[in-house]
């Protein structure tokens, strides 16, 4: 090791805070990999500013040997330290680190667990599922929420019965997250449960997310609930219900969609026009004509398109 380098490494253990900070900054600048091991040791420094700067530096080196010690920082009592370690690991972790991360879930440290649940989204490996499930029953709502969001990222998981219970969680924050996750699952109970929550949940964000999830699933079985939700007191719920009806086309939605053309929210009016276009029924034509002088330009454009679309459908069926 050259003497310049070893001088800075020695300074890492100086009693003076400023010395240590300068040493780390310099080592970061020099970029010599011989500094990695001493920097990892410096993670044990008492001062959180030092720890944070060391993490940034190790992140800069991006050497795989720093990954386990950085994982160790995820449960730090200092928020800045935890956040920096999390940011670094978001970039550095790969599927090779899966087992190390899963080990952390088994510890009792809340911060470490929460951060690992976030990191598992980067790896999105279905093998993590059995380790995530116990958090559905955690006492802590934040962990339940994080766990059910992470489930959403595991693209190879298509059924997960335990997630349904979280959609009835006492905490609305958990319910909001769980409902969106259900949009990616195909368990039998999913569509009936989402339909129920769409019309019955007391929290409007849960209802909105249920509409979004049903939009993703595009299952005709949800039609009645979606039609009912077009009359929801919250415009965002109405908007996403109407959006879902753009995909699930069913003539039972016709009256509700025609009403929605007069909604106070321009988003709802616009999306309803599109849904009517997709439905392709002549009964909608006169209502759509009336929106051609809507004050909102988007509404006018989409109504025009819808009218054209319905006329085209008509022409095709006439010839066919």
């Amino acid at each position: 090791m050259d003497s310049e380098l070893s001088q800075w490494i020695t300074l890492l253990r100086s009693p003076l805070l400023d010395d240590r900070l300068v040493a780390i900054k310099t080592l970061q600048h020099l970029g010599d990999e011989d500094a990695i091991a001493p920097l990892i040791d410096a993670l044990q420094d008492d001062d959180p500013t030092v720890q944070t700067l060391v993490i940034t530096t190790l992140w800069e080196f991006a050497h795989p040997s720093a990954i386990p010690p950085l994982i160790g920082c995820l449960g730090s009592p200092y928020e800045a330290v935890r956040n920096e370690a999390l940011s670094a690991l978001k970039e550095l972790v790969s599927t090779d680190d899966l087992m190390k991360l899963l080990d952390v879930l088994q510890t009792g440290n809340f911060h470490a667990q929460l951060n690992v649940l976030v990191l598992l989204r980067k790896i999105h490996d279905a093998q993590a599922l059995p380790f995530i499930l116990p958090f559905f029953e955690s006492e802590n709502a934040e962990l339940r929420e994080a766990a059910v969001i992470t489930l959403r990222y595991l693209n190879q998981v298509v059924r997960c019965e335990p997630a349904l219970a979280l959609a009835r969680d006492p905490s609305e924050v958990v319910r909001r997250a769980a409902v969106l996750t259900l949009g990616h699952l195909s368990d039998e109970g999913v569509v009936p449960l989402l339909s129920h929550l769409l019309t019955e949940d007391t929290d409007w964000q849960v209802r909105r997310n249920a509409a979004q999830a049903l939009d993703t699933l595009a299952d005709p079985a949800a039609i009645a609930a979606l039609v009912a939700a077009v009359a929801d007191p919250e415009w965002q719920v109405r908007k996403f219900a109407v959006r879902a009806l753009q995909k699930v086309t069913d003539s039972r939605a016709l009256p509700a969609l025609i009403n929605a053309l007069a909604d106070e929210s321009s988003d709802v009016r616009r999306d309803a026009a599109t849904a009517l276009g997709n439905l392709g029924q002549t009964e909608a034509l006169s209502a759509l004509q009336q929106t051609l002088n809507d004050p909102d330009i988007d509404v006018r454009i989409f109504s025009e398109r819808a009218i054209a679309q319905i006329n085209q459908t008509l022409a095709q069926t006439a010839h066919g």
Partner: protein, 576 residues
């Protein structure tokens, strides 16, 4: 102008450079160094979306140079012949020739920087024959240090580096490239860089097909390379070429890494069928070889394996030490875990997912022998630029050519102020997923997209399937608008998915356009199973029209500079 990034709390960073290199991998580091060497006063900046110390294909583990033309062993003319034949004649020979002509200088320069190449006891380069004819493969026993050495040279030459900024679009004004926009994947800042010349070196489109594991980043190629440069060049209006010539590689089954026949075959290993017999006579990767593997796998003689069990203990130990030490220690663990031993069993092999990569096959951004794309001021080099079978040395050579020519080109040019409407539109497009953190996660959106790629584009290619695929890729633009991101890192992934979609659409359209079979499995069409030189001895190019349509057309093959009689010299590696 709506200022979406400031609404989200992200400031805008403005940078300027004379030469802007996008991507700090093999080609990009060399482009930066050579631009600076050509004019030490010029301002050269490398933009890298990961961390230049460890980014790019080299970091996946490099065993040797695949295409070394070393005086006394082979000539550039021989090399051009070999690549012309391996690529079924569809090459711009002038461009291929440069790789042969300048490759040796690159090797010497790398050596002067401390890169070690294998030599025999007399001090001569220890070249191995892997190609059908001629020796071009030069082992690099310490390949794992290569990126470290390059990064050091970048620094020494005074090339600036901005890590963790992902470029998303090239700025084109007055018909020339004048910069790049992107964002910082750590802080989320919007980044606008003005430049007089832009060199794209963003590598392959390695995340097109989905690997057998279903793991999005478990690709053969470096998973950071999502086809960014292909999409950026396309949107800048540059011509793309032979996109239907996919990349497919022989892989170790269930293991993410090449089979490494290049390393093992000079020691006597070979690819064999289940009965232990050879069925190909050459391990150099080509579409024809992949077709023979595909046929063998589907013939009842499969599975196919890399056979070493006939070798002696010492030789196997030597192969193991090379394969396992060079940044792939996981390989040793992998075989151990499966209870496999090179001494007793063949290593079972499989066919990889598809990708786009000119470095291995021939699909890329159209460039001439000066590394120029069809957009003035826009250059491309490496795995994304259309010089076939270029591999690592070709990436270095074309990085060099691009760097030197860019410096030459920009002399009398000034910076142009970017159009605010363009910037505003880009912001809206790039940041959309962050405005809906509860949108569909990128992992779901990417997974479904790449399953479609597997289902509809994986050769052998069927026209009906490809038509369906194309329809789905086009419609997928809507699905992308539903994607959500929770932090800038996820935003990067979302933007990558949009690049992958662009590449999938290009791949489907180009594959439908070329109505013949060529390059073995790479473009094997069930409805046109034969090569048809009368109609298709040409490049298939595509570009974005003014109105935003994808337009396909034929481009004649440039006159050969090295005589090759393709009627007599058909690339054929099957053992009959």
């Amino acid at each position: 102008m709506t200022n979406l990034n400031t609404d989200l709390g992200f400031p805008t960073q403005r940078l300027q450079a004379d030469v802007l290199v996008v991507g700090g991998g093999t080609a990009g580091t060399m482009a930066g160094i050579k631009a600076k060497q050509a004019n030490p006063d010029s301002d050269v900046l490398i933009l890298e979306k990961a961390n230049i110390r460890r980014s790019g294909a080299i970091a996946m583990g490099m065993d040797g140079v695949n295409t070394a033309v070393i005086p006394g062993n082979s000539t550039p003319e021989q090399y051009v012949r070999e690549i012309t034949i391996a690529n079924d004649g569809i090459v711009n020979q002038k461009a291929v020739y440069e790789t042969g002509r300048l490759g040796f200088e690159v090797i010497q320069e790398l050596e002067s920087w401390g890169v070690k190449f294998q030599k025999d006891p007399d001090g001569n380069y220890d070249l191995k024959q892997v190609h059908r004819v001629g020796k071009y493969v030069l082992p690099m026993p310490e390949g794992k240090d290569l990126k470290k050495i390059l990064t050091r040279q970048v620094k020494r030459h005074g090339v600036k580096v901005t890590n963790r900024v992902m470029a998303t679009r090239v700025i084109v004004q007055n018909g020339r490239a004048t910069g790049v926009v992107g964002f910082d994947v750590r802080s989320g800042d919007f980044v606008v860089i003005q430049a007089k010349a832009v060199i794209l070196c963003t590598g392959a489109c390695g995340r097109l097909g989905l690997p057998a594991s279903g793991y999005l980043y478990g690709t053969y190629e470096n998973p950071t390379n999502a086809g960014d440069g292909y999409a950026m060049a396309y949107h800048a209006g540059a011509e793309m070429t032979n996109i239907e010539c996919f990349q497919i590689n022989p892989l170790i089954k269930d293991y993410n890494g090449p089979a490494c026949a290049y390393v093992a075959s000079p020691f006597g290993a070979y690819t064999a069928n289940a009965e232990g017999h050879r069925f190909i006579n050459c391990d150099y990767w080509s579409g024809q070889m992949m077709l023979d593997i595909y046929k063998e796998l589907n013939s009842g003689n499969g599975p196919v394996h890399l056979k070493m069990y006939h070798l002696d203990d010492d030789t196997i130990a030597k192969i193991e030490s090379i394969l396992w030490a060079n940044e792939r220690p996981s390989r040793g663990r992998f075989h151990e875990g499966r209870g496999e031993n090179y001494r007793t069993h063949g290593v079972e092999m499989n066919i990889s997912e598809i990708g786009l990569c000119s470095g291995h096959s021939a699909s890329g951004v159209w460039v001439n022998e000066r590394a120029e794309t069809t957009v003035p001021g826009l250059y491309a080099a490496g795995d994304m630029a259309s010089v076939p079978h270029n591999y690592m040395i070709g990436a270095f050579v074309y990085g060099r050519i691009a760097g030197e020519n860019a410096v030459d080109y920009l002399q009398s040019l000034d910076h142009l102020e970017p159009d605010p409407d363009f910037l505003a539109a880009e912001q809206t497009r790039i940041y959309a997923p962050l405005t809906q953190p509860n949108g569909i996660p990128h992992t779901q959106v990417e997974y479904k997209l790449r399953r479609l790629v597997n289902d509809y584009l994986q050769p052998p290619k069927s026209p009906h399937k490809m038509e369906i695929g194309l329809e789905k890729f086009v419609a997928y633009a809507d699905t992308l608008t539903a994607m959500g991101a929770r932090d800038p890192h996820e935003l990067m992934r979302c933007n990558e998915v949009s690049f992958i979609r662009d590449c999938a659409e290009m791949a489907a359209r180009a594959s439908l356009y070329r109505k013949e079979t060529r390059w073995g499995l790479y473009h094997y069409r069930l409805d046109y199973p034969d090569r048809n030189d009368a109609e298709w001895f040409c490049h298939v190019n595509l570009k974005r029209t003014e109105s935003g349509e994808m337009e396909l057309f034929k481009r004649p093959v440039e006159p050969y500079i090295v005589d090759v009689d393709l009627k007599r010299e058909v690339y054929d590696v099957a053992v009959r």
